[in-house]
């Protein structure tokens, strides 16, 4: 029996107010671009979250428990749903109630915290657990770090925190000749299992689905199911990990993406050797095939599949260093609003916007970037962070 694991990442960053200038530092704290956040969330809710959730609910009902999926919804996304679009949260709740959906744990703020502060990392993971409990009544047993950033050290930490399964990128430079279609055990772990993204099949949907220059275009459910089924005899689990926004937002409705997903479960289940399982279920059923040794960070971003989308150029490094340097002081204020604002600034997207490697993935970066240039992103971010720093220092000075 080969299981097909769908896991969808749901994330929306809190975008910053690009009009926040040097002159505002020490004067105003109008950091968020509320209009853009609301507008984008509404737009994506209408194009993706609401219709896609409806589709998934229909499919789950139709297949009576045989269609199973997983979501990782970031805390920042949930907070924005609650504020701008509560019906989205409601529809996720309906999905949770089917019992066919797994909710995956991660850092609440979709942050790079593991790379900078283990304490903050743990706090954000626990925070996300609390929110999942509160919103959906579930306790996550599977973990996926921000943008599938992964390493041995992270796996070990996650095992210690009580998780059973971790998701990672099936990066070529880690796997070599090996297949992502088996369960692995991260080096140094004795219980935790790793599920690796089959990036070819995942990206066939996420990135190439509507690409007319692709020699396989157009792809329908039968064709794709055939590719999945070709794994038979050479794998135990096919992990299809992607942004949820693929459905209806990155791939618009007129590309046929909804029809594709509507037809896919039936097409895959036609082959008797295949089932849908959530990551937790697949990992509980299967034993690790081999050890996975990842001393350096990998991720699902860009061709490099490393952390250079967020860190590595001087602007990214400087901004991240200064943001994390504020940790002890901002926590010392005990002011929940200040701390929440600081954590919003830790969201990885801010550093992604400062990326200057515009090679093969420049188009992808541009699509998600509200700024004209990475330098503008850096300047806005620093203006905000500098003001927050002033506020924090002012607060501590008064204590």
């Amino acid at each position: 029996m080969i299981s097909v694991c769908f896991y969808f990442q749901v994330h929306q960053p809190m975008r910053l107010n690009q009009g926040y200038s040097f002159f505002d530092i020490g004067v105003g704290h109008d950091y968020r671009d509320e209009a853009a956040n609301r507008e984008i969330l509404r737009k994506v809710a209408d194009k993706c979250y609401l219709p896609a959730n409806r589709l998934m609910l229909d499919l789950i009902n139709e297949f009576k428990g045989k269609f199973r999926i997983a979501y990782a919804i970031t805390g920042v996304a949930m907070e924005q749903f609650q504020e701008f679009c509560p019906e989205v949260l409601e529809s996720f709740r309906e999905l949770a109630d089917t019992g066919c959906v797994e909710f995956i744990g991660e850092t609440h703020y979709h942050s790079l915290s593991f790379l900078f502060s283990k304490e903050e990392f743990r706090r954000q993971v626990r925070m996300h657990e609390r929110v999942l409990k509160e919103f959906f009544g579930v306790k996550p047993v599977t973990f996926r770090n921000t943008e599938l950033i992964f390493s041995n050290a992270l796996a070990l930490e996650i095992e210690k925190m009580g998780y059973k399964t971790i998701l990672a990128e099936g990066a070529d430079h880690v796997l070599g000749w090996r297949s992502p279609n088996f369960v692995y055990q991260p080096a140094g772990c004795c219980k935790l299992k790793a599920l690796l993204k089959n990036y070819r099949l995942s990206d066939d949907i996420a990135f190439r689905f509507s690409n007319q220059a692709w020699n396989e275009w157009p792809v329908n459910a039968e064709k794709f199911a055939g590719w999945v089924q070709a794994v038979a005899g050479n794998g135990e689990v096919v992990n299809l990990f992607m942004d949820y926004e693929t459905i209806g937002e990155h791939q618009w409705a007129d590309t046929g993406i909804f029809e594709f997903f509507r037809a896919l479960p039936g097409a895959i289940l036609e082959h008797p050797g295949f089932v849908f399982e959530t990551p937790a279920e697949a990992s509980a059923r299967l034993d690790p095939m081999a050890q996975l040794d990842v001393p350096h960070f990998t991720s699902w971003a860009d061709l490099e599949r490393d952390v250079t989308a967020w860190l590595g150029n001087p602007m990214q490094d400087q901004a991240a260093e200064l943001a994390y340097a504020l940790e002890d002081r901002v926590l010392a204020t005990g002011d929940h609003d200040l701390i929440a604002t600081w954590r919003e600034l830790l969201t990885s997207d801010h550093f992604y916007y400062m990326c200057t490697k515009w090679f093969s993935d420049g188009d992808v970066h541009k699509y998600f970037n509200p700024y004209e240039t990475p330098h503008q992103a850096f300047i806005t971010y620093m203006n905000v962070l500098n003001d927050l720093t002033l506020t924090v220092d002012g607060r501590l000075g008064n204590k």
Binding site: F23, I25, P314, Q318, H375, I379, M382, N386
Partner: protein, 428 residues
């Protein structure tokens, strides 16, 4: 005295200090009873021309045929090879344009003339300069005037044409030279136009001795022909009564200008790092844009100063006054600055200034602190010293205010008027 004046910029239609200088100078001249017809490539509504007659070349419908253009190209040799250029291009941009190797033909120019003027410094600048000179010849034949006055190289061909048609004396005013903009890697075509203008001129006005020396040395011009008239600064604070509250306790050191090679922004960034090593309680502000902007942002981040170094982008209107007023020290580290008005503007706000020795303005600023642009250690030392020494800082501000009293557009205008009188003889 009636003057036919050619200029490429005029407030608010400006991209640099040239327009501001033209406004100040013409106001001064008008105050002394000079009638000025100021010809801009393009006139839009809103130019502040109450004290003179503004004329837009775009509104002059000269009848021009292809034979006139061909004969013009014979007369003005330097226009033989034309390529779209902008005066404030960087070396890199120059090269990419030159590599395109777009030579204009007479046909192209004729086509351009049928279009409207774009003004500014667009891709078709060279063609516009030629068209503008054709219009100048037309005006010179119909207008009454005693002297022709052309500002910078863009209007030099117009000045030459006007002089040819009318036989009146020509004054060429050098606000900036190709060597300022491009260092030693000058664009030959721009240089040739500048030089043709200087050679045709009966008198050259240089904005500083620094510029005069360059004209004499690099363009082989007879020193007797070159007069220095320093620029002045308008002391009007448009938002003068605005109360500036500064929310930051650290002292602020300001750079304001185009972020290009000529202005030396990289020396400012390097000096900031050295200052912060010694005194972390200083903030640096860089206002402006330019082709070196991304590099400066990245370098600043690399030097790990983002908590103390702020970029403002292009500032305009009230924000200009605000940032001057918030600052404790102004730095102009220009690599080559024919004049450089910003230190004077800073002094209007009682902000002491450090200027590079490679600037014209340093000639009239006895009180300002002067350093070589490349001497980052010295610059850092002076910044630290001035910020750390309240008495010295106050002394510099007071001296700055005294200097400002002596720097007036009326005085500059008087010098220019004297030049006119010498050239035009009996005209009053």
């Amino acid at each position: 005295m009636r003057v036919l004046m050619f200029g490429w910029e005029f407030p608010p239609y400006i991209s640099g200090g040239l327009g501001t200088a033209c406004l100040g100078l013409t106001k001064g001249l008008a105050g002394m009873g000079t009638d000025i017809v100021f010809v801009l490539p393009k006139l839009e509504s809103g130019e502040s021309g109450g004290h003179l007659t503004l004329m837009g070349a775009n509104r002059v419908r000269a009848r021009i045929g292809i034979s006139e253009i061909l004969s013009l190209r014979e007369r003005v040799k330097v226009l033989e090879v034309l390529s779209p250029l902008r005066p404030y291009l960087t070396e890199k941009e120059y090269r990419s344009l030159i590599e395109r190797d777009e030579f204009f033909t007479a046909q192209d120019i004729l086509g351009e003339i049928e279009n409207d003027f774009a003004g500014g410094y667009g891709d078709n600048l060279m063609a516009e300069i030629v068209r503008y000179s054709v219009v100048a010849a037309h005006l010179a034949a119909s207008e009454q005037f005693d002297v022709i006055h052309a500002h910078d190289w863009m209007t030099a061909p117009a000045g030459i044409e006007a002089k040819r048609v009318s036989g009146k004396p020509l004054v060429v005013h050098a606000h900036a030279l190709e060597f300022d903009r491009s260092g030693d890697h000058v664009n030959q075509k721009v240089y040739d136009i500048e030089r043709a203008g200087f050679e045709a001129a009966d008198r050259i006005i240089a904005v500083s001795h620094y510029t005069r020396d360059t004209i004499i040395k690099r363009y082989s011009i007879d020193p007797a022909k070159v007069t220095v008239v320093h620029n002045a600064v308008s002391k009007e604070r448009r938002f003068g009564q605005m109360r500036i509250t500064k929310p930051l306790k650290e002292k602020i050191v300001l750079f304001l200008g185009r972020i290009t090679f000529q202005k030396g922004p990289d020396y400012f960034v390097e000096a900031a790092a050295k200052v912060l090593e010694k005194n972390p309680d200083v903030r640096f502000v860089m206002a402006g844009t330019g082709d070196m902007f991304p590099r400066m942002v990245e370098r600043m981040a690399q030097l790990r100063m983002a908590h103390r170094f702020h970029f403002l982008g292009f500032v305009r209107g009230a924000d200009v006054e605000r940032i001057y007023a918030m600052s404790d020290l102004y730095v102009m580290p220009s690599v080559s600055e024919p004049f450089g008005i910003t230190p004077l503007e800073a002094m209007v706000y009682n902000v002491p200034a450090i200027v590079s020795k490679q600037s014209g303005v340093s000639e009239i600023l006895d009180s300002a602190v002067k350093v070589d642009f490349w001497d980052v250690d010295r610059l850092a030392f002076e910044i630290l010293d001035i910020l750390g020494d309240e008495a010295r800082s106050a002394r510099l501000a007071v001296k700055g205010a005294e200097t400002l009293k002596k720097i007036k557009w009326e005085i500059a205008a008087e010098h220019v008027l004297n030049v006119y009188r010498e050239l035009a003889g009996g005209a009053r």
